[in-house]
């Protein structure tokens, strides 16, 4: 019960953050030289000042700043993030269509990195200073130091071009017209390489942090207590130390959720993954400001949500945190 009350507090605290993002968003538009009307007028080729003024009136750009601001907030609260003239479609619909693939990619990479990283970290710590520990250290160091785009390209060269095991790019093979399970298997096959490229760095990071955290727990008094009870080493590691050691890893992972979105822009571009990353990249290329700001807002909301989820997990795991 207490947990949910605390979570409620956090939710309340998240609202001003989202509002702050909206405000920032609005003033970013204002900071850009010119406005939507002048951009459109410029693109139409030959526009008279009267036409520009007409456009301004139509878009409400001639009204006072405060009025515009309130209108913007009111719209945003109804998930109306404006219109993308490039794509000739409302921004929110565009984003919604791309949100699924991005979430799939991000959560897969995040979950796999966290899960595998924790497991490898425990393995390295338990087998400290053995060949297994050394091997894991070397692997993490390599993953750590490899740039994502290069890794992506190498994966394509090896597994798609040479071995022909996995598709080079895209989300699914529409031409085959798969249904049901077959479609999901197909998507899974497309997901392997981008997920690996995106998650490997974090996998290495979590492995290292988990190993250090486990080693720190090894010296704790409660571990000696458990041993003095006659508990087996395996049960001590999994029953006692694992959860204690995992908490700092989880905290760090929560903070890094934002970086993951940044990383997905590169990965999605390399693998032609139809997510927010490619959408953002295209919007940037074509100076589609409305769309870009919409994506900015949605990713910010996403980061807030992931942080909330991590927080909920943390208070579930740690009884010491209370409202």
């Amino acid at each position: 019960m207490r947990r949910w009350r605390y979570f409620g507090y956090r939710l309340v605290f998240a609202l001003p953050v989202v509002f702050g993002i909206l405000v920032l968003n609005f003033f970013l538009i204002q900071l850009a030289p010119g406005d939507a009307a002048s951009v459109l007028a410029g693109e139409s080729g030959a526009a008279s000042p009267e036409y520009t003024a007409l456009l301004r009136e139509k878009f409400g750009l001639d009204r006072p700043l405060l009025e515009q601001f309130l209108a913007y907030i009111a719209n945003a609260l109804q998930f109306n993030l404006g219109y993308s003239f490039r794509n000739d479609s409302p921004v929110f619909e565009l984003i919604l269509a791309r949100l699924g693939p991005t979430l799939l990619l991000m959560l897969t990479a995040f979950g796999a990195a966290l899960g595998l990283g924790t497991a490898l970290g425990v393995l390295a710590a338990v087998a400290r200073n053995s060949w297994r520990d050394a091997l894991i250290s070397v692997i993490t160091l390599v993953c750590y130091a490899t740039p994502v785009f290069w890794l992506g390209l190498m994966l394509i060269v090896v597994f798609s071009v040479n071995l022909n095991w996995l598709p080079t790019s895209g989300f699914e093979n529409i031409a085959e017209g798969y249904e049901g399970w077959e479609r999901w298997v197909d998507i899974g096959r497309h997901l392997v390489m981008p997920g690996t490229a995106l998650g490997l760095f974090y996998l290495a990071l979590y492995t290292r942090v988990m190993r250090a955290s486990m080693l720190e727990q090894t010296g704790m008094d409660y571990v000696v207590t458990a041993r003095a009870k006659g508990q087996t080493e395996g049960r001590i590691v999994f029953g006692h130390m694992l959860r204690n050691a995992f908490l700092p890893v989880l905290t760090m992972a929560g903070v890094q959720a934002g970086n993951l979105i940044g990383g997905s822009v590169v990965v999605e571009t390399v693998f032609g993954w139809p997510g927010l990353g490619t959408l953002a990249f295209n919007a940037l290329q074509s100076r589609d400001l409305n769309l870009l700001l919409g994506i900015f807002f949605m990713s910010a909301c996403l980061v807030v949500l992931i942080n909330l989820a991590v927080e909920l997990l943390t208070i579930t795991l740690d009884p010491r945190i209370q409202a």
Partner: protein, 542 residues
């Protein structure tokens, strides 16, 4: 002997290369009998904890039994396999530790941690285990055992946690209980209760107890047999009264002589001096802030008035959370107060801005509890001491000369000036701390538990040094301590604090001979070894 439970013979525990000696414990012989408490006494680094851990095979990595045997129920524990040891641990031999907060897993409920012992060693089902846990918690006199079982360690007090640890260690009625300084981290009244509990349970179950401690007061209260360990060598062992009243080995004699007596030393009567430092109705609250609803308020200081006179030593005595340290910090302006006044040498400094505090700071200096944490490890000793005077405008050369001079005053070699803090022992570091406090030529010294982290023999030296310096430099000393014995040794007047207020303030002799407040009486009664110390005092004062 037939009722011998544990027989330690020629035990030698090797240390890794690079340690200060080759073996932590050297050729130790000790027999523990059923129904008896054996106290293993020694100062820090004597190897007493390692000896205890060796019994359960819980030695840290790279430390191992080099020779000898530990016989328990016909089995040599030094040669037992991990599987054999696991069967004995928790079931036949229980163990409790010094710090019950860290010895319990913070993420598991108390009940689950005790249940674990039962599920490892017994075939009981879940329901039976739960019932047994509640019964065990009731046995150690915890209120509402069912609620305690559901609680997490951080929700209990230190004493309750240690009771839960004892319940866990005694869950399966072991033949032997190893207690590694189980009361050192507890308040004195709680300590008395826990000692009582261990004693009662041990008598009624016929358990043999190996009790590690550094405190002869505790030994006097609980031991049947005493073994004294000096740098890994067992120098003396025997029945309690024989060792306490008639120690044979010079080391035991020295240790016993250093134990602060529960007695007021004769002092020349003093003229009450002028008031140097005063707190007038100081009040300090801590509010726990909550977004919605009311926050909890803790009153750390509840309108405390106290005055320190020139040339006297005033003791602030109390248990943890009594507000004694808060008061000392408030009086030095290291902490701001909500209302009331602090007056230093006639100047009201309650709300003096930090930048105008500098001339006042020179008059009042602090000595801290932890000699390890209170010195910057990257600073040479001479810089540690000279920093204050340099801040106050003394030329560097002069300040350093003064630093070297002060090292002599606190009994350190002047060559110590060019070394780093980590090269010194705890007692030496506390001397450096005192020199640092003296460097500004203060009129008032505030010492916050200056000897609590030190071994008893070092404690006596540092106390003597403080008293000597105070007399020579005509200082006023505000002395914060939890230990009534220490306060009696050094203080002219004692203020007993509880829950942010002074419950009794009187001359040391008066408070000792005729304590007025029930809490003061309770504190005196809880002093470990009170009866023995009183007997000693009677002997010493014919």
């Amino acid at each position: 002997m037939s009722d011998a439970v544990l027989d330690i013979a020629d035990l030698t525990i090797g240390l890794p290369p690079g340690a200060d000696r080759a073996s932590a414990v050297q050729g130790m012989n000790l027999v523990l009998r059923a129904g008896e408490v054996t106290c293993l006494v020694g100062e820090s680094g004597s190897g007493k904890s390692l000896a205890a851990r060796a019994v359960l095979g819980l030695l840290p990595p790279r430390v191992g039994v080099a020779a000898g045997s530990i016989m328990f129920e016909g089995q040599d524990l030094t040669k037992a396999t991990p599987a054999q040891l696991a069967k004995i641990r928790g079931a036949r031999i229980g163990m409790i530790f010094q710090e019950p907060m860290t010895a319990l897993n913070p993420l598991h409920s108390i009940g689950r941690q005790i249940e674990e012992v039962l599920s490892i060693h017994t075939p009981l089902d879940r329901k039976a285990r739960r019932d047994k846990v509640v019964a065990l918690l009731a046995d150690v006199h915890l209120p509402e055992p069912a609620r305690i079982a559901r609680s997490f360690p951080h929700q209990l007090s230190g004493g309750q946690r240690q009771r839960a640890m004892i319940a866990m260690a005694l869950a399966l009625d072991p033949k032997l209980l190893i207690a590694d300084e189980p009361t050192t981290a507890l308040d004195v009244t709680t300590q008395a209760q826990i000692l009582h509990l261990i004693h009662d349970l041990q008598r009624s179950h016929g358990t043999a107890v190996l009790f590690i401690t550094h405190d002869f007061g505790v030994v006097a209260d609980i031991a049947d047999q005493v073994a004294v360990l000096q740098r890994g060598v067992l120098v003396e062992a025997g029945p309690r009264d024989a060792v306490l009243d008639n120690p044979q080995h010079p080391y035991t004699q020295a240790l016993l002589a250093a134990v602060p007596r529960l007695v007021v030393p004769q002092r020349a009567p003093q003229q009450p001096g002028i008031v140097m430092l005063e707190s007038i109705k100081a009040r300090k609250e801590y509010r726990q802030r909550a977004l919605l609803g009311r926050g909890r308020t803790t009153v750390a200081l509840d309108g405390v008035s106290v005055a320190l006179r020139r040339g006297e030593t005033l003791g602030l005595v109390g248990e943890s959370g009594s507000g004694k340290s808060t008061l000392a910090r408030a009086m030095t302006r290291l902490l701001s107060i909500d209302s009331g006044d602090i007056v230093l040498d006639g100047d009201e400094i309650t709300r003096t801005p930090q930048r105008l505090m500098r001339p006042h700071r020179q008059k009042i200096q602090m000595i801290f509890q932890d000699p390890y944490a209170s010195l910057n490890p990257r600073q040479k000793v001479v810089d540690v001491i000279a920093e204050g005077p340099i801040i106050h405008g003394l030329p560097r050369a002069e300040a350093e000369a003064r630093a070297r001079e002060l090292l002599g005053l606190v009994g350190l070699d002047p060559s110590a000036a060019d070394r780093f803090p980590h090269e010194f022992s705890g007692g030496q570091r506390q001397r450096i701390g005192i020199a640092r406090a003296l460097a500004l030529r203060p009129q008032v010294l505030v010492a916050d538990e200056p000897v609590s982290a030190l071994d008893v023999s070092v404690q006596a030296q540092v106390l003597a040094l403080l008293a000597d310096i105070k007399a020579r430099l005509h200082l006023s000393l505000l002395f914060v301590t939890h230990d009534l014995r220490v306060a009696l040794q050094i203080c002219d007047r004692i203020a007993v604090m509880r829950q942010g207020a002074i419950v009794e303030l009187a001359d040391t002799a008066d408070i000792y001979h005729a304590p007025q407040h029930p809490y003061t009486k309770a504190l005196f009664a809880a002093v470990p070894g009170a009866a023995w110390l009183q007997k000693e005092a009677a002997h010493a004062a014919p």
